[in-house]
Symmetry: C2
């Protein structure tokens, strides 16, 4: 069978990379010839998970049409989050847990999305539906993806299915998920060693909101005041990045993974700022706002912003 590449979104996180690895295993068991790759380097958290379960980081690719005719996507579908030459290949499979937007195919395809906390949760259901055994290391990387995406089952995106998946996968992987989960999340919060330019790009995604192009980046921390010591530098870097890439607004979500609140830094024109206020019922003060209980870009940030921009 002709080779296909499997990958998650740009600026990959543990779901994008971990689920690509696990889905590649799943598909190869079904007779496909796939390789998990990534659209960027593994971040600190993902590297921690890969090492823990004995995986090498997937090969990083910038384009795909130069090596394959067909691809499978995990954890994303929107083109601006995907590989730049996607329109030159055929998407045959997608598993995801996001909204569907600007995604189109010429032919029928396999598409499986569910409103659950993590793509690996959907994949876990697929393993179970087919009574397939999950190897311990694959279970470990899927577990890591779910812990990462749900902030150890505390994000409001978390469903009962995610919880069930975490418990079962932890057993197979042979880890205490609470203990391992905290280690994993903390591995991703070491921001001191990173420049503001790196931090605003590490987990950043672009969205079309109404007629605006928005960039929304998220950084996980355990110490918000430490992050805000560099507030002016963050804002300057966001301004520069927005200008260079044509973003109408740039929002940096600094999430405390221990207490599940977020501090937002925001730049954009006056209209965008007033839309922000409408979306969250909260005015920006000095380009900043505290969003109580908000940790999920997918569920708590993009939908209210989309509605407010389209209203």
């Amino acid at each position: 069978m002709e080779k296909e590449l499997i990958f998650g979104h740009r600026n990959p996180d543990t779901d994008a990379i971990g689920t690509a690895i696990a889905y590649s295993y799943f598909q190869n068991q079904h007779g496909y010839n796939t390789e998990a790759v990534a659209l960027g380097e593994a971040n600190d958290e993902t590297s921690f998970a890969l090492k823990k379960f004995g995986f090498e980081a997937p090969r990083v690719v910038k384009t795909v049409a130069n090596e394959v005719k067909a691809i499978m996507l995990v954890d994303h579908n929107e083109p601006q989050q995907s590989v730049e030459d996607r329109d030159q290949v055929k998407v045959t499979h997608v598993i995801d847990h996001h909204r569907i937007s600007n995604f189109a195919t010429i032919d029928p395809l396999f598409y499986r999305a569910e409103p659950v906390g993590c793509t690996s949760t959907v994949l876990w259901e697929m393993f179970k539906e087919q009574n397939m055994e999950i190897p311990a290391n694959i279970a470990g990387i899927m577990l890591s993806a779910i812990i990462s995406d749900t902030l150890l089952l505390k994000s409001p995106t978390t469903t009962d299915i995610d919880k069930e998946a975490v418990e079962e996968l932890a057993k197979i992987a042979g880890v205490d998920y609470k203990e391992y989960g905290l280690e994993l999340l903390k591995a991703g919060t070491n921001i001191a060693a990173k420049s503001v330019e790196e931090l605003i790009d590490l987990d950043a995604k672009s969205f079309e909101l109404g007629s605006k192009t928005a960039r929304i980046a998220q950084v996980n921390v355990v110490d918000v005041p430490e992050a805000l010591e560099r507030k002016d530098a963050f804002l300057a870097a966001m301004e520069k990045d927005a200008k260079a890439n044509g973003y109408d607004l740039f929002m940096l979500v600094i999430t405390n993974v221990l207490d599940s609140d977020s501090e937002v830094l925001f730049i954009g024109d006056d209209e965008s700022k007033s839309v922000f206020a409408k979306a969250f019922g909260k005015e920006l003060v000095d380009s900043e706002a505290h969003l109580l209980g908000v940790v999920s870009r997918k569920k708590q940030i993009v939908p209210p912003l989309t509605r407010a921009f389209e209203a």
Copy 2:
């Protein structure tokens, strides 16, 4: 739980109506509160299947926002094939077997598509994955949908999964699927009693192909020459309908369900005609072409046309 409506595409066929009924049963078993409805009257074939398995035709709706806030779709996703006020409600679930095009949501959703012959085949897999029992009448209507969409397993869209589904569902429904299948298909081929205006609208769908709006209608027959006796009337009706609705081209696919070939009538501008020739390697002669072995709009007509229009 708040009520949701489930329905298939406009100009519903046996898959659109049958799968809506079966999926409503499936979802209600899972605690949802759903009603299967339809975006048009059941055609002759569908009516035959409904009667055979003891169902009333679903209520026909023109709009949905006046009665529910959320809906579930089967057998389609493209907006021009859906209910006209879809943008005013939330799509929570989709099961389908078509390409994805111009479909977008604000929130994550449940989306399940597979490149198989019929939406009921996907639903059959879902019943099996969850070890759910399928009542005999539900099995019968799902069987009818698969027979209809795959032309009794002869369409090139047919997969091994469709065949397996048909065999299992026929057992549950207690029918000989070959015998019943021929009866069902023949029930949909009685074109003599219908006007050309009815026939070009019965199973017609709109597509955006490149920058063109295309209308592609399909009629199943057992006697192609009988249908072509009304060729001039068909072409005139297609011209009129295209003009009234702004279609750039209108294609009527007259499919012989016994030998699995199609005769095509085509109207459109010169560019569209030359794109047709490029797509099928066949010139139109007097607005007509014979397409050997072509029976599937989804797999054998829309993709080559899309590629040719976008080239």
